[in-house]
């Protein structure tokens, strides 16, 4: 028996771990390479840090390589990110040249041989030009429903050279002549961000953040980004507060190479004014325990995004037994079972109405929270993602 995977027996659905052992028997000895842009910061890195050792412990020769980029390169790929998600960005030919030259330099430095190579998002996508053997999959975590055409045209040239693409949701995909698979991302229930915490640990963390523990807390966790609509969250909170004494916490951990966050925070502080019940908390990238404590202390979790990737903060809050009021953006609605584990809303008013309803019905909140945790257990844990990756390796690397 293997300890790395056995740790998940208590948290995953019945029989899952034994099933994974048997599934791994079918792919033992095969090699699997994950490639992404950064080692730290962001949900992809969080999961890969755990997923790759789990694959290794199951007998798969799994590796995780990270692109070496320059500040200039990361500026370019951030612009590409915005453009691919539909925001106006000017990307010059010189910038695309910067991208291509960094890709070429990395292709020379990295060992790209494997039975299966999974390339995450746009930053390293161009490495496919240097593929040698194996099955190459492009794993897109972004919502590509309405990209800016020049950026997508540039990226699409690379994507077409893959054997298949994987999206988190059908609605995130563009038309492509290669097979398109659909796989939800996942959370790690044993990571610092999601593991169980003692009452004293939580109390200590919340007190350190200066939050009133006796007042109901509406919590939105997410990067300080206009797409997350923190301003809409403040508007909804103000509508709720007319009837109910409560507080709003907007908490975000920084992602490396994110130059816009500071400007958004400044505007948020201005919007909050002198309201002491609005807490805007900027956390460092490694503040996983603080986020964990905040989610466990929240009364209701809110995700008011107007544009979103998959939005795994929703599953994180649900895993902690919290009902989530979320918009229909990105993958939020795919995680919430409307009316069962939380509510899907479409407006500021809708968010306020549902939050108020929940705050007035503690029994309903508890029931929804319990269902939310079970829903995540079955659909959004890393053990399910491990199963998906092993299945891909078996079905595609031999075909």
């Amino acid at each position: 028996m293997n300890s790395a995977l056995d740790e998940y027996r208590e948290v995953s659905p019945k029989g899952t771990v034994d099933f994974l052992y048997r599934l791994s028997d079918l792919v033992r000895g095969k090699s699997f390479l994950h490639l992404n842009a950064v080692r730290y910061g962001g949900g992809i890195s969080e999961v890969l840090r755990r997923l790759v050792p789990m694959m290794v412990s199951l007998g798969v020769e799994a590796r995780w390589e990270v692109l070496a980029g320059t500040q200039e390169y990361f500026t370019v790929v951030n612009r590409m990110l915005n453009a691919l998600q539909g925001r106006d960005e000017k990307i010059t030919a010189e910038m695309y040249h910067t991208y291509s030259s960094i890709i070429e330099r990395n292709a020379k430095a990295l060992k790209l041989d494997a039975d299966m190579v999974m390339v995450h998002d746009h930053q390293p996508a161009g490495l496919v030009d240097y593929r040698t053997n194996g099955c190459w999959l492009w794993r897109c975590h972004l919502d590509l429903a309405q990209p800016q055409r020049p950026a997508w045209t540039f990226l699409r040239r690379s994507v077409l050279k893959y054997d298949a693409a994987i999206f988190s949701l059908s609605g995130f995909a563009q038309r492509l002549p290669i097979p398109k698979f659909l796989i939800y991302p996942s959370i790690d229930p044993l990571s610092p961000k999601n593991r169980e915490m003692s009452r004293s640990e939580i109390t200590h963390a919340i007190d350190r953040l200066g939050i009133n523990r006796s007042k109901p807390m509406i919590l939105q966790v997410g990067r300080f980004d206009r797409f997350k609509d923190p301003f809409g969250a403040i508007q909804a909170f103000r509508l709720v507060k007319k009837h109910q004494d409560c507080q709003l916490v907007l908490a975000g951990s920084g992602v490396m190479h994110d130059p816009e966050g500071e400007a958004v925070i400044a505007e948020l502080r201005e919007a909050a004014g002198d309201d002491g019940d609005i807490h805007i908390i900027q956390l460092p990238p490694e503040a996983d325990l603080e986020i964990n404590a905040l989610q466990r202390s929240a009364t209701v979790a809110l995700q008011k995004s107007i544009k979103e990737g998959f939005g795994l903060t929703v599953s994180e809050a649900m895993w902690k037994g919290k009902p989530v009021v979320g918009s229909s953006a990105g993958g939020i609605a795919a995680q919430i079972v409307d009316g069962v584990t939380g509510y899907v809303v479409h407006t500021v008013e809708g968010a306020a109405f549902r939050i108020r309803h929940l705050l007035n019905n503690p029994g309903l909140m508890n029931r929804m929270g319990g269902m939310a945790r079970e829903h995540v257990r079955r659909n959004f844990l890393i053990t399910r993602q491990l199963s998906d990756d092993l299945t891909l390796l078996k079905l595609l690397s031999t075909s």
Binding site: F19, S328, L390
Partner: protein
């Protein structure tokens, strides 16, 4: 051992449990209104009909009370058409001998609904219906039962995908006459009444966990000698 209805029967051929892992694949077809939905249901591969009416159970292991197939779920949650949603929700795939008949019935229900509606209900604020299909990987889970007691104990702890595979995949996709559990109990253990009982369990009513409970209950009642109930 056939013909001897005893719980101590030992099967010559053991029951080998098989789990499954599903990969969802987009087939690049989407409907924005109910007429398009019916037209596309008519043209998509049967695999896709199977996906939206069967593997739904594999993906929603917990939540009961939600609509029991993707078509009903979509017209209610995204289009807001509760009337069609209710008519599609009551549809029971167990009543149809194969997927082609099930497809015809779904189209017929939607066409009938549209013929009585002055408008074609469509998505306004919600998401379109994305057609998908799945690729299923069979995974032998290394458990084999030779007696009813062993079978019952193993069903208690197996991953739900194993129950899905033997109850749903066996019957519809692999076109076996009955589910794998009842077939083995009938042919290898010779427990005909229990086999009939398990064959008659409708897998479409409730979650996979509920199905697990029904299987265990049927075995327990038989093992306790309460054959009147089975």
């Amino acid at each position: 051992m056939k013909g001897y209805p005893s719980v101590t029967n030992i099967a010559d051929a053991p029951f080998a449990f098989i789990g499954c892992s599903e990969l969802q694949e987009s087939i690049a077809r989407q409907a924005d209104d109910e007429k398009e939905l019916a037209e596309l249901i008519e043209e998509v591969p049967l695999d896709s009909i199977h996906f939206h009416t069967h593997s739904y159970f594999l993906r929603h292991g917990l939540i009961e009370g939600a609509y029991p197939n993707d078509f009903a779920q979509w017209v209610v949650m995204q289009v807001g058409d509760h009337v069609l949603g209710e008519r599609l929700a009551i549809l029971d795939p167990f009543d149809y001998p194969n997927l082609e008949h099930l497809r015809e019935e779904i189209i017929s229900i939607i066409d009938d609904h549209l013929s009585r509606s002055p408008i074609i209900p469509r998505v306004v604020f919600g998401q379109p219906f994305h057609f998908k299909r799945s690729r299923i990987l069979e995974v032998p889970i290394g458990l084999e039962a030779r007696t009813l007691q062993e079978f019952r104990d193993m069903v208690t702890d197996i991953d739900v995908s194993t129950i899905y595979y033997h109850m749903f995949e066996a019957h519809f996709r692999l076109r076996r006459e009955e589910n794998d559990f009842s077939a083995w109990i009938r042919s290898s253990l010779g427990l005909l009444k229990l086999a009939d009982c398990i064959r008659s369990i409708n897998p479409y009513q409730g979650s996979l966990e509920r199905l697990r409970s029904k299987l265990i209950t049927a075995c327990d009642e038989f093992l306790a000698g309460d054959s009147a109930k089975v």
